[in-house]
């Protein structure tokens, strides 16, 4: 009996009855084409430049925007289906939505802002109790009589969060939750979100234009550009192994170049890439065959500076030489730009601890040799 139920659950899970499944597209009034999932307990970050359609996707999930085509399902319940003409109202969808500017009810106290979102079928006393719990959870129990105008930015954000959770939502949607507060408050609120994320077993979708924020907070990351979802995966996947040159750029990778595959091992686990007049060893050719023109990238963390007294390099390294064109100090790190001898158009950007800059006597104009680690070289489709 138990086994059968387990199998049923498994089958249901495979059909995607668990978590949030969004598949929407439209051309007008704004182009959208997004296909994403978010499992219970998972935090999915939607990233992309302003105007990429991040907020529109969030609004579609909440039922505030009606896309032309597609389906939206949560926990096995269809919220939206253009084919079956299903379109639940925002009230019928169990969502907690935190707006970018919080959209608190200005005429109501913090307590009433939260209480209004609690299930009306509960007795009054239970509603009050629940409101107090929620306000205590966001550390606002002492400020419950204050109206939004009398709260600081961080406090407003907490009221908005408490209100978003007041419905016991099946999905939590956060639209740029940290954009309206100062840096110090932001760091504290982020830690609180991480703690909350650990406690909530529901899908959380976070919209942000701040890549670092997304990398730190999310379990998975989806990249949107001009309304189209270009890829989704773990932060490391998207950052170090992006599916396309465009995603690499949107993920902030600056070392994106073109090259040609000149050698592949039969198991595709090693190969050589021609870049200008040097050949680079790569650890994975990812299905590209010999002669293929590809884009490739290498992240800053896979670039190693050679000490001047050391000449030999192992096979996993790809020494390339170049001249430092400038460097900027960023706290304890320094951002370097190196113009490569092999490819004068190519500029390599990477960061180093500031002390190694000092130790190696590097300044603008210094000729340096750096290694591009073979494990870190990632091949992608060439520019369209």
């Amino acid at each position: 009996m138990t086994r059968i139920r387990d199998e049923e659950t498994l089958a249901a899970r495979e059909q995607g009855s668990d978590g949030l499944h969004v598949h929407i597209s439209q051309r007008q009034p704004i182009a959208l084409d997004a296909n994403l999932t978010c499992a219970p307990g998972e935090l999915l970050a939607l990233v992309g430049p302003s105007g990429a359609g991040k907020t529109s996707v969030l609004r579609a999930i909440a039922g505030l925007l009606h896309p032309s085509f597609g389906t939206i399902r949560s926990g096995g319940v269809t919220w939206f289906s253009s084919e079956d003409r299903i379109n639940l109202t925002p009230q019928q969808r169990s969502v907690g939505f935190m707006f970018q500017d919080y959209a608190l009810f200005p005429h109501l106290s913090a307590h009433d802002n939260v209480a209004l979102a609690i299930d009306k079928s509960l007795p009054r006393q239970a509603r009050d109790e629940r409101t107090r719990q929620l306000l205590a959870m966001v550390n606002l129990e002492d400020l419950d009589v204050r109206k939004p105008a009398a709260l600081s930015g961080g406090q407003r954000q907490r009221v908005a969060l408490a209100r978003a959770l007041a419905r016991d939502p099946d999905v939590l949607l956060l639209d740029e939750p940290f954009s309206a507060v100062d840096q110090m408050t932001r760091d504290r609120l982020k830690r609180e979100l991480v703690a909350l994320h650990g406690k909530l077993n529901i899908p959380i979708v976070l919209v942000t234009h701040d890549l670092d924020e997304a990398l730190v907070l999310s379990d998975r990351l989806a990249v949107l550009y001009a309304g189209t979802l270009l890829g989704q995966g773990t932060p490391d996947d998207m950052r170090l192994r992006p599916p396309s040159r465009m995603v690499a750029r949107l993920m902030g990778q600056t070392n994106v170049f073109s090259g040609e595959v000149v050698e592949t091992a039969s198991d595709a686990r090693a190969g050589r890439l021609r870049f200008g007049d040097v050949d680079l060893n790569v650890s994975a050719t990812r299905g590209w065959s010999r002669g293929a023109n590809v884009s490739w990238m290498v992240a800053s963390e896979h670039i190693v500076l050679h000490r001047r007294d050391r000449v030999e390099a192992t096979a996993g390294e790809n020494p390339v030489a170049g001249r430092v064109t400038d460097f900027a100090r960023l706290g304890d790190q320094a951002a370097l730009r190196v113009k490569l001898d092999a490819m004068p158009d190519a500029i390599l950007n990477f960061k180093l601890p500031h002390r190694s800059i000092a130790r190696n006597g590097i300044e603008v104009g210094t000729h340096v040799t750096v290694s591009l680690l073979a494990d870190g070289i990632h091949l992608m489709a060439p520019d369209a």
Binding site: G63, F97, D101, A103, L104, H107, A117, K120
Partner: protein
């Protein structure tokens, strides 16, 4: 002081406020948040009584209210009463004349409610009616009070259209402002002056209320 005229005026103002309130709330809300074809035409029609000479408006209402035509025929069939020269007639006229005063401040008030505050109410699970009652109405309240103060003062003082439609029948259609005109025509300036002073005070209080409400809206 002509208490009969005062009572007619008061009744006219009170009924106008009462009846125009729900209509104006609905119209103002639609104009504030919906985009539709012919919206500017509708807005212009509502504002028309502000700029139209009272005699022109009164003339068309008189034609419309006549027992041979549309509204007048309908009401006559219903109540056996003509609209012209009756309290019901001046009440209907007053509603038309006051529509811009009622709609304008409310429309501004509803426009001042951010779209995402209403959306926040929806995603918090509040139905459209609850959103209206708990969120929109309290936020638009200063505008609604302003509207009602303006309508009240304006319908107390309305002259031209009332005279065209209602004539000058004491106890039925003779309002304070018409009574003032009546007394001045009869060289009874002392009686007119008391009534004029009463209207002056009423109008002043109405403007003060409107201003206080406008400031309260700004402060929030």
């Amino acid at each position: 002081m002509d208490w009969t005229a005062f009572s007619v005026s008061l009744q006219l103002a009170a009924w106008t406020c009462l009846l125009i309130l729900p209509v104006a709330v609905v119209v103002a809300r639609v104009l504030a948040w919906r985009e539709f074809r012919g919206k500017s035409v509708v807005e212009a029609l509502i504002l028309l009584p502000l700029v139209l000479p009272p005699t022109v408006l009164g003339f068309y209402l008189l034609v419309g209210f006549g027992s041979e035509t549309g509204v007048g025929k309908f009401v006559a069939g219903l109540t056996g009463q003509t609209l012209v020269f009756s309290f019901l007639g001046i009440l209907l006229a007053s509603l038309v004349v006051n529509l811009p005063f009622a709609v304008q401040p409310m429309q501004r008030a509803f426009e001042g409610i951010p779209a995402n505050v209403r959306e926040a109410a929806w995603v918090s699970g509040l139905s459209s009616w609850e959103t209206f009652r708990r969120i929109e109405l309290p936020l638009a309240w200063p505008g609604i009070v302003s509207s009602m103060a303006l309508v009240f003062a304006h319908s107390l003082g309305e002259f031209g259209v009332i005279l065209m439609i209602g004539g000058n029948i004491p106890g039925e259609t003779q309002t304070l402002s018409i009574a003032i005109y009546d007394r001045v025509q009869a060289f009874r300036n002392d009686e007119a002056s008391i009534m004029a002073a009463a209207l002056l005070v009423f109008s002043f209080v109405a403007i003060v209320i409107v201003n206080i409400m406008a400031r309260r809206r700004l402060l929030r």
